[in-house]
């Protein structure tokens, strides 16, 4: 069914089957837990931030194809960015998956376009955003578990 292929593109399926940066990369100096109580997805996100640069990002936990793929893509996209640019990317990502702004995406974010399919599935947007919200909390260094519901 073609609508489903828009959501579950090959890149999503690949990242969900073989998530990148999966497992706790050490050393790390930021971490946070994320939980989506609706579906039971739980992630822990780790980051190493040094000299204002996100040197490393990794995650562990289990979730659906959308949340796992989104977490995996996130680690690849954010690694090596200045922290301030990582935060900007978080905002842009949010716009992509909620469809709030239909702006042209720059090349770094093109990869994220594969997640734009969740716009058509309001109940699934929280799956896509879980790891990102969690990483933001890790960068903010808040201890509270992030909840997307």
């Amino acid at each position: 069914m073609s609508e489903l292929r828009d959501l579950y593109q090959e890149v999503i399926l690949d990242h969900s089957r073989s998530p990148r940066n999966f497992g706790h990369h050490e050393p790390s100096n930021r971490e946070a837990k994320g939980h989506n109580p609706l579906c039971g997805d739980k992630f822990k996100v780790y980051a190493l931030v040094k000299d204002g640069i996100v040197k490393d990002v990794s995650f562990e936990g289990r979730g659906c194809a959308i949340s796992t793929a989104s977490a995996s893509l996130m680690t690849e996209l954010l690694k090596g960015l200045f922290e301030k640019d990582a935060r900007k990317m978080f905002e842009r990502f949010h716009d992509v998956v909620t469809g709030d702004k239909d702006e042209e995406l720059d090349s770094a974010l093109d990869k994220l376009n594969v997640l734009a399919g969740v716009r058509g599935y309001p109940m699934r947007v929280k799956c896509a955003t879980l790891a990102w919200h969690t990483l933001k909390a890790a960068l903010d260094d808040t201890d509270d578990t992030v909840v997307t519901e």
Binding site: E3, L4, C39, G40, D41, C64, A65, I66, Y121
Partner: protein
């Protein structure tokens, strides 16, 4: 005639097509396909007679109850109170005043916790629940535990989802004050031996509260045969409106209970010095109730008792057997909850796809299932799964719904397998 032949005849007489025809929502497509509604355990759809009863209440006889002396209010009050009698009949209670209207099972359980619990429990007193309770029969007791220092004991179940009765017997003690137990597990479908549980609890001196949310639409209920002290259920799982349910309590037990919410309609007289409370059930029904919802519940009870109970049981057993057989043939599928005594609920997981992804794919095929932890996270933890897919059946479900589910699961396998 043999048992099997007799059962086949009973099943043949149960006219599912005619029942389906009474549910307008089942005539509407979902994603361009006929809807296969397999989520009745979360909330059942409503027959036309229930929809009409709610609409007609507002159109022809609505006013506040127990207050006015004018015709409209009198008619509404009589229609409202008549539902108490219907509900009494449904569960075979002895008296109308043993039926307290609530917003549903959750509120009914909270009523027992807040009224009976706070009046009767102290530090070290034990409340027993099971490992397969819905959160609504866990959290109210945890709140009391933190407030009063009671002990919450959890009776385990085995790998099939069967309650371990030996463990239950051993856990009962002279400190056990209440056994609060589910009649049918919403996540596993297990039917619990509540008569036996009640007898054992009573022998230990404990009262018994039965969470009948899933039990009442599937296995029928006779509170006097069970001999439970409290029985909680929701209207919306019994083909009635949401936001209305009931708590049954034995008359002598209710007579001793203090109110739990203060307000209008639950009093005899009020001065600033002293308030005298009304007798049960009104003592527990403060404020303007869910009038149209209650009348809708009455219509749902009328509709439900018009079904042939043996036919309904045979029909749901058939769907459970057929669904279990078809799902067992799906590669990589594991059914969670395999108790021999089971209601028409099938929870399952696939080893290559997360329940949420499965739910999204099934939805595109018009198949509505519940995916998630079913408000029973301890059950998920027991089986070490974050969530399951749950197909649950009602009076209007048919084998075609199950065929649609199986067909859609092929797409899941193609995508994720």
């Amino acid at each position: 005639m043999s048992d099997i032949a007799s059962r086949t005849n009973t099943l043949a007489r149960f006219d599912v097509a005619a029942i389906r025809g009474q549910f307008p929502i089942l005539q509407r497509p979902s994603h361009g396909k006929p809807v296969a509604f397999l989520d009745s355990a979360a909330s059942a759809q409503k027959p036309q007679s229930v929809i009409d009863a709610v609409a007609e209440t507002y159109e022809t006889q609505y006013a506040n109850v127990h207050r006015g002396v004018y015709e409209l209010s009198e008619r509404t009050s009589m229609a409202y109170e008549a539902v108490r009698g219907k509900t009494k009949g449904l569960i075979n209670a002895a008296h109308d005043d043993e039926i307290i209207f609530t917003s549903g099972t959750t509120e009914s359980i909270n009523l027992v916790a807040q009224s009976w619990g706070r009046a009767n429990l102290g530090p070290g007193d034990e409340v027993l629940i099971t490992e397969m309770e819905h959160h609504s029969n866990i959290v109210p007791w945890q709140l009391l535990r933190d407030e009063l220092g009671i002990v919450l004991k959890v009776v385990p179940f085995d790998e099939d989802g069967v309650l371990i009765m030996d463990a239950f017997e051993k856990m009962l003690s002279n400190r056990s004050k209440l056994v609060s137990v589910v009649q049918v597990s919403n996540a596993l479908g297990t039917i619990l031996p509540i008569r036996e549980i009640t007898a054992l609890a009573h022998a230990a001196g404990a009262l018994v509260l039965v969470d009948g949310a899933q039990g009442i639409p599937h296995v029928g209920t006779d509170v006097r045969a069970i001999n439970c002290d409290f029985y909680a259920f929701s209207g919306h799982k019994l083909y009635g409106p949401s936001g209305i349910g009931a708590l049954y309590g034995k008359r002598d037990v209710l007579a001793e209970l203090p109110p739990w919410k203060g307000g209008g309609d639950m009093i005899l007289s009020v001065t600033f010095e002293k308030t005298e409370f009304a007798a049960p059930p009104h003592r527990f029904e403060a404020g303007t109730p869910n009038i149209a919802g209650t009348i809708g519940l009455g219509a749902a009870v009328d509709w439900f008792v018009s079904l042939d109970p043996e036919g309904l049981a045979a029909h749901e057993d058939d769907l459970l057997a057929y669904g279990t057989e078809r799902l067992s043939d799906v590669p990589g599928l594991r059914i969670v909850g395999t108790a021999p005594d089971k209601a028409a609920v099938i929870s399952f997981v696939l080893d290559y796809a997360h329940p949420h992804d499965i739910g999204t794919v099934l939805d595109q095929y018009g198949v509505a299932v519940r995916t998630g932890h079913h408000c029973a996270q301890p059950v998920m933890d027991h089986f070490n799964v974050p969530a399951t897919v749950r197909a649950s059946f009602g009076a209007y479900s048919n084998r075609g719904d199950i065929d649609s589910l199986i067909e859609a699961l092929v797409e899941v396998q193609e995508l994720f397998g």
